[in-house]
Symmetry: C2
Subunit: 296 residues, 2 copies
Amino acid sequence: MTPSTDESPLFEPHNRTWISETIPHMGAAFSLKTTQKLDEIQSPFQKIAVYATEHWGNLMVIDDAFMLTSLENFVYHEMVSHPALFTHPNPKNVVIIGGGDCGTLREVLKHPGVEKVTQIDIDEQVTRMAEKWFPELCDSNTDPRANLRFDDGIKFMREAADASADIIIVDSTDPVGPAEGLFGPAFIADCYRVLREGGIMVSQSESPFYHMDVLQNVHRAMLRAGFSDRRALLFPQPVYPGGSITCTLASKRLPLDSFRKTSAAAKTFPTRYYNVGIHQGALTPPEFVRVALEAI
Amino acid sequence: MTPSTDESPLFEPHNRTWISETIPHMGAAFSLKTTQKLDEIQSPFQKIAVYATEHWGNLMVIDDAFMLTSLENFVYHEMVSHPALFTHPNPKNVVIIGGGDCGTLREVLKHPGVEKVTQIDIDEQVTRMAEKWFPELCDSNTDPRANLRFDDGIKFMREAADASADIIIVDSTDPVGPAEGLFGPAFIADCYRVLREGGIMVSQSESPFYHMDVLQNVHRAMLRAGFSDRRALLFPQPVYPGGSITCTLASKRLPLDSFRKTSAAAKTFPTRYYNVGIHQGALTPPEFVRVALEAI
């Protein structure tokens, strides 16, 4: 038996049934009870592991950060997709940067008007693990409109043609390691250039309770890039640090307040988190977030 | 050094710097890094402890469940108060059941039209601990409109006169131990009786991710008691299991959709979570909650 340390109280060698994500700068940790480690590989970019849990279905962990569970990934995947797709008047060409688990791709392809989705994740092994352990998220990978590429999303966006996309969704891991550049001003300025007029960018922008600095930096970069409207949509995500997270919508000229409510109310596919009232409500952030984002 | 067990992985005798709340039926745990145990007493009703944490200020723990932290209690206290107070046209007489930490009382008393607030918590020691370790929540305890009583809230409500309150806020611990009856149909029916026409009841109703059964039971009891409109307001609460929680508003005749938006926008006190858009947005629950509550 090895004593635990102050910095890592929960990954205890003598207690393999619990797995924990520790957030040192908040002095907080979240733990799930597992029944089995199903898989683990070291890709060229990161360590990817999948566990079976007692109550959350399967859990994907990348570099010791909890990525998604079978139980509650629906919230994130719906919120990173449908608000943008029901705001753009006629989204045809969608780009997903990251998103290797393919859950966002699946939600985007539920919109019948979408003609092409290009997904660029740097790490093919994330998609291979998702196909194996989260097959329900990969339902749409063989849709003829889906174009899965495994490449550097920053390079892709730098080389992409001006005004070639209607929506860009940045579905990334945390801003450390391979995803760090996806939160930076150069990448966000490229997204602005690659969007058509009326286009919308969506970016994972962390929890205001845990990472207000990241949220502010993303908004600052979007403001400087020229985006005319920005909204931090806050939603619960039990498996992420702090239990909630934001994605930020930024638009190239389109006011984000006026989304296609009638289409959203008459959508032809079911959702479990998203609905018209949730979309409307998410457009106003909590007061402390509003104040912090006005101060950037 | 004592080995941990499967049921209690984190309260490790050899690792006193972390404190954890484990939710066995979800196979989940949340932990905070502490610097010191500040206080602990066994009251006639429950064990109350207060810790200093590294990043969350002080933490109150009752019977091993995390109750509140200095850092983020504002979300809960604002959401359990202001939506109800800005919906009722002219709330004068407010009753708080539970609420011993006095944070809800403080928010309610920010409304200048309120003439009297009666707070009934069964455990005086919760208030004594709050006065000592969360003095900022007890700012208004000496307000002449505040009437603090330490008694059984269920008995109080059973004996209260018909149509004597404008708003009843049930600010309770989880539905185990002393608070169990506060989630039951007899108590909720008493609240209905004690409210005036146009009155509003608010009840803590747990997380839909962790305790959908509790949320449904509260709504079922409210429906049977005769409440004409009910809304589960979901909001983030990083220190609670699952990272988010609901409070449910139930009204005696008043439609909850039409709240006093102009008054809320012109409120004379600052808030950190609540604003008009947050209030409006919270009136629509996520789709999976809507479906679960329609099925009761």
